[in-house]
């Protein structure tokens, strides 16, 4: 993350060089080291993630070709290579073709005015077609419109009205047409063939044919020079909406080989003309000291934090995880409206609200940033925490894509919006038929200005360990299904694998990107039912060799060991579910290490450090838990958290939390803390507990050698830790005993008081019960009559089965 922030300055400079773009010069250079933690932040190896985070988006629908291409060209036109001077007419960026992020460089007033004039123009264009003079007279005429036969209500001629028109009909006057009305409906078309008067009529016909598709053309103008048209024309539509439509759809229209239309709104010229030639130095934003955003990493005990939502979402708390009892750091009512999320390195806590997303951080969990996005439902962070992607099902309009918005976290600025057709594929934002568009940061433009056209793409997935994207295309008649690995930005296909009789594919990357497993469900010819193949791609080897493991049983779950070469598979049908652990050896052999049968599990949870795994039978399987050490494949413990719905490893792999969320089950909402060996440490019952999330940690700064060294010296450390544990344990039991002692003392004191009162009342008691002392069970033993009762006890021998 640091790298990213550190390189942010040159990036900002780059942006400044493109005034024609959607991000004109308003972005202040992020204060250097703004987020640099004071503490453990020794610089990471430079340049790993900084240069370009990429966002994969598959562009929409069948018409996507039409829509995306102009955009790509528009981007080309406004690319960094262009001169920063105001663009020439034909170079005008067709920014309306791919409606941009509202230009943030504009003064807000200007934007507002645009909107107003829009609505005004709409009102007028209905009748006047832009005849300003007539429209201006409309009001007086309306007043005189009374019938002549009626008695005259008109004022005498010398009457001076003391009420201003403003006062009288201010609300109508506001909508009074103005001189500039109507120009919103005018478009300019460039690259029109230059013709003499002889062919002008023909040209007009052609133009009319093309452009009347978008609405009624009320006026046209073909400027001429030396008897020939000048090559650009003006067209006026009946309404601005038509003009916008025309710009969107006709820009880039290929009339013939030499002539490709460039279509722009007339008003755009105005807009770009007014951009100053001088570059204004953006005002330096005052530096906001947010404190050390990574303070929690400096905690002496190396404890982790987690967030807990409870009381059905009304309260959210942050705790330090502690072996004894969780230590509360912060608790707030209605902190979030739905749920929370941590950023991937743990710097920010995101809360969800109807109006958008808020990010919190620092020691006091102060608000750091807000992103306004009505009805936001899903978010995703970029891996280095520079960008935030938000999704909202509301608000999407044709002109202004708002379904998915990408934000810059540091500045809070909107980088780009996207349309969204279906929300099914989060976090891979957008999935449809044909085109895969890859956008690059920081410009948020299409990578290489071109979408990848992959017909029939079903699913894609980024490698977590490099700029490689994997995607697959299903079978189409005689063409086999294909899994492709593509290097970016070179777009070189590094591996293609053809597969037959494919029903479905799932792409599973190992966390480091060392391996890719493609789970292929196939129906081989001549067999019944589905066979599953695991195609294991070894990414780190030359030409990416592939090995296959075939499974005949139903696959319930698959998971890679995060930092290793093992994977676990749950297979079979309930109640005969087995788990198999495989190891991908260096020579490429895939070896079955161990299989356990009769498992009560439907989910696999690897420790983030690998080696240890929790197999959980969540929800319908009553919360059965098995803790397995895969180094020697022993089951360390079998346990149960009844009706558990979630399992969460802490980021260090030391603890596991199982929980019953109120979202899935309405009683016994609680979270339990276990060690990685499956020893239960705490049961935390929380009223209507909803969600627990561990705060992630940034990747370790230690080198592989240092880690090795630590592992080697483990004995030395473990001695120290054990001593510490013993100390804290004895302290804990001491504290507990101490607490009990005081409780007991207080209680005794109270009882003594109560008993004194009781003794005082002895006479009254005796009196009430006719002198009989009933204070003790046998205190009136003298009054007892001896009575012998005989019970008839029959002994009967019942076989054990009938017994309770």
């Amino acid at each position: 993350m640091q790298d990213a922030e550190n390189v942010a300055v040159p990036e900002a400079a780059e942006e400044r060089a493109e005034p024609g773009q959607q991000q004109p010069a308003a972005e202040p250079p992020p204060a250097e080291g703004l987020l640099r933690p004071a503490g453990p932040g020794a610089p990471e190896a430079a340049g790993t993630e900084a240069s370009s985070e990429e966002v994969g988006i598959a562009e929409a629908g069948p018409e996507s070709e039409v829509r995306t291409e102009p955009a790509a060209e528009a981007e080309a036109a406004s690319g960094p290579s262009e001169s920063p001077s105001p663009p020439a007419a034909e170079e005008l960026p067709g920014s309306h073709a791919e409606p941009p992020v509202p230009a943030q460089g504009e003064a807000p007033g200007e934007q507002a005015r645009d909107e107003r004039s829009d609505s005004r123009a709409q009102a007028v264009s209905e009748d006047a077609g832009g005849n300003e003079g007539r429209a201006a007279e409309a009001e007086p005429r309306a007043l005189e419109n009374g019938d002549a036969d009626e008695p005259s209500f008109s004022d005498p001629e010398d009457f001076v009205d003391d009420v201003s028109e403003e006062e009288l009909l201010g609300d109508v006057l506001k909508d009074r047409p103005q001189e500039a009305d109507g120009i919103d409906s005018v478009i300019v078309v460039d690259n029109v063939p230059q013709v003499g008067p002889d062919r002008l009529e023909k040209l007009k016909n052609v133009i009319h044919k093309i452009f009347s598709k978008f609405g009624k053309i009320t006026n046209d103008f073909y400027p001429e020079e030396d008897g020939k048209t000048k090559g650009y024309i003006f067209l006026e539509y009946a309404s601005p909406a038509h003009a916008v439509d025309a710009v969107k759809n006709a820009d880039g229209y290929k009339l013939d080989k030499q002539h490709t239309f460039r279509v722009n709104l007339f008003t755009d010229f105005d807009k770009y003309m007014t951009i100053s030639d001088e570059w204004d130095i953006p005002e330096k934003q005052p530096f906001k000291d947010l404190g050390n955003l990574r303070y929690w990493l400096e905690e002496a005990e190396c404890r982790d934090q987690y967030s807990v939502i409870f009381e059905s979402g009304d309260r959210t708390s942050i705790f330090w995880n502690d072996v004894k009892d969780p230590v509360s750091i912060e608790e707030r009512a209605r902190w979030t409206e739905t749920y929370v999320r941590w950023s991937p390195k743990g710097t920010y806590l995101a809360t969800f609200h109807q109006r958008g997303i808020a990010l919190w951080g620092g020691e006091k969990f102060k608000q750091i940033q807000r992103f306004s996005h009505q009805g936001v439902q899903l978010i995703d962070f970029s891996p280095c925490e520079r960008y935030l992607v938000t999704f909202s099902p509301l608000m999407d309009t044709q002109d202004d894509p708002q379904a998915i918005i990408i934000w810059d976290i540091l500045t809070g600025h909107k980088k780009r919006g996207f349309h969204c057709e279906s929300s099914a594929h989060w976090p891979i934002f957008k999935m449809t038929l044909d085109t895969l568009s890859i956008y690059e940061t920081p410009s948020m433009g299409l990578l290489d200005k071109k979408s990848l056209k992959i017909s029939g793409i079903k699913d894609f997935s980024w490698s977590p360990g490099g700029n490689i994207i994997a995607f697959w295309v299903p079978e189409d008649k005689d063409i086999p299904a294909r899994v492709t690995l593509m290097q970016l930005p070179t777009r070189q296909e590094i591996r293609v694998r053809n597969l037959f009789n494919v029903v479905d594919c799932k792409l599973h990357w190992q966390k480091n990107g060392d391996y890719l497993c493609v789970k292929v469900d196939r129906t081989p010819k001549g067999t019944q039912g589905v066979v599953t193949n695991f195609e294991i791609f070894r990414m780190r080897e030359k030409q990416v060799p592939v090995d296959v493991v075939e499974m005949k049983e139903t696959i319930i779950a698959f998971a890679w060991e995060p930092n290793g070469s093992k994977f676990a598979v749950l297979h079979g049908e309930a109640p005969r579910i087995s788990v198999s652990f495989y190891h991908v050896k260096n020579n490429g052999k895939i070896e079955l290490i161990k299989m356990f049968d009769k498992q009560q599990a439907n989910t696999i949870f690897w420790s983030p450090q690998g080696q240890f795994v929790v197999l959980a039978g969540l929800r319908s399987m009553n919360g059965a838990l098995a803790f397995v050490d895969t180094s020697d494949c022993t089951v360390m413990n079998i346990a149960e958290h009844y009706m558990a719905s979630d399992v969460e490893w802490d980021p260090t792999g030391r603890y596991v939390v199982t929980s019953v969320s109120w979202w899935s089950h309405k009683v016994d909402n609680a979270y339990w803390l276990w060690t990685f060996q499956g020893r239960l440490l705490q049961k935390n019952n929380k009223d209507r507990f909803c969600q627990l999330l561990w705060r992630p940690r940034p990747p370790t700064l230690l080198s592989q050698e240092q880690i090795k060294q630590i592992k080697k010296d483990l004995k030395k450390y473990s001695k120290i830790f054990e001593q510490k544990d013993r100390l804290s344990q004895s302290k804990a039991s001491k504290e507990l005993v101490e607490r009990r002692r005081t409780m007991m003392e207080d209680f005794r004191k109270y009882r003594k008081m109560a008993q004194e009162l009781y003794m005082e009342q002895k006479n009254e008691r005796l009196e009430l019960r006719g002198g009989v002392d009933t204070d003790e069970l046998d205190s009136n033993v003298d009054d007892w009559e001896e009575e012998t009762i005989e019970f008839f006890v029959t002994e009967e021998i019942i076989p054990l089965g009938n017994q309770e």
Binding site: V667, S733, R740, M743, F747, A754, R769, D775, E804
Partner: protein, 324 residues
């Protein structure tokens, strides 16, 4: 092995030992009132007469009389030994709670807010037969706000302590009927109130998943015992600092057949430390009523499943001590 008492066809509503502990009275949502020998679980007899669910039962200090209150809109007084019905007090709505005072001369019962009738606490002096004959209590306290869901006599019969649907506790004077003390420590209905043997303190069981210990005179809150389920009943050990809680998921909320989820166990807490130290399983539904034997060597529980179980403690129970 516990002794299983099968004398009811419907879920148990209340169980109570007499003062000496040789007898155990049980009432249920059927019209039968049973009395058992607590030592072996043999049924001594029944008190027949009610025509509806019986909500409450009490015996006086010398076990001469038994008092029962029922949903058939009556409170009845019985001769304990013969089972003869001595008095029938008709009411306008179901009788929810009833009890003899310390001397056994005055009875009180509370009626439900039901069918347009208010919740009342009625007091009769048994020494004045005309009160019974004319069905005219010497005092009737109206209770407009929140109906009484449990009530007991305070020490020396000077007051009654009533728990309400709202979770409030009121101490009413048995002479004037005025509210002497009012506290609200529970957030939901108080299902049960039971006094300690010396009557200086009492424990409440509430739908808010807790049981609480109070001082009988001041109604000062002393301790809280927390569980994850509504608590239907709680009883104090006569000779140890222990309290037993019975409850469980409400029958109407039981969605699965598993008894595990309902948590139908009797749970034992230390009175001073508020810590749980033991559980006893057995019932197939929530426990509606628990009672300690006056000698503290056994306890009984009555459940929604219609069974009453008498449990004798094993030796470890008496040896167990918290480290303190």
């Amino acid at each position: 092995m516990p002794i299983l008492l099968q004398g009811h066809e419907r879920s148990i509503t209340q169980i109570k030992y007499n003062r000496e502990g040789d007898l155990l009275f049980t009432v249920a949502k059927d019209p039968i009132v049973n009395v058992w020998y607590s030592v072996n679980g043999e049924r001594l007899g029944t008190y027949m007469g009610h025509t509806g669910a019986v909500w409450c039962v009490d015996a006086d200090w010398d076990t001469k009389h038994v008092l029962t209150g029922s949903a058939d809109n009556s409170c009845r007084l019985w001769d304990c030994e013969t089972g003869k019905q001595l008095a029938l007090l008709k009411t306008n709505s179901a009788v929810r709670t009833c009890g003899f005072d310390f001397g056994g001369n005055i009875i009180m019962f509370s009626t439900d807010k039901q069918m347009g009738y208010q919740c009342f606490v009625s007091f009769f002096d048994l020494r004045d037969p005309s009160q019974i004959d004319n069905n005219e209590p010497y005092m009737k306290i109206p209770c407009n706000d929140s109906k009484i869901t449990s009530a007991v006599w305070g020490p020396l019969g000077e007051c009654i302590i009533a728990g309400h649907e709202s979770g409030e506790l009121n101490q009413y004077s048995a002479k004037s009927g005025e509210v002497l003390v009012n506290v609200k420590e529970h957030s939901r209905q108080i299902n049960d109130i039971q006094l300690s043997r010396d009557m200086t303190m009492f424990v409440t069981a509430s739908k808010d998943n807790t049981a609480k210990l109070f001082d009988s005179t001041t109604l000062e809150h002393q301790k809280t015992f927390r569980t994850e389920r509504p608590v239907n009943s709680a009883a104090l050990s006569p000779n140890y600092d222990h309290v037993v809680l019975g409850g469980g998921q409400e029958a109407m909320d039981v969605t699965t057949t598993s008894t595990r989820i309902g948590k139908f166990e009797a749970r034992f807490f230390h009175l001073a430390f508020e810590e749980e130290f033991g559980r006893v399983k057995g019932h197939f539904g929530p426990i509606n009523s628990v009672a300690f034997h006056p000698d503290g060597k056994s306890y009984s529980s009555g459940g929604e499943d219609g069974y009453v179980r008498i449990h004798y403690f094993d030796p470890q129970y008496f040896e167990f001590e918290f480290e303190a």
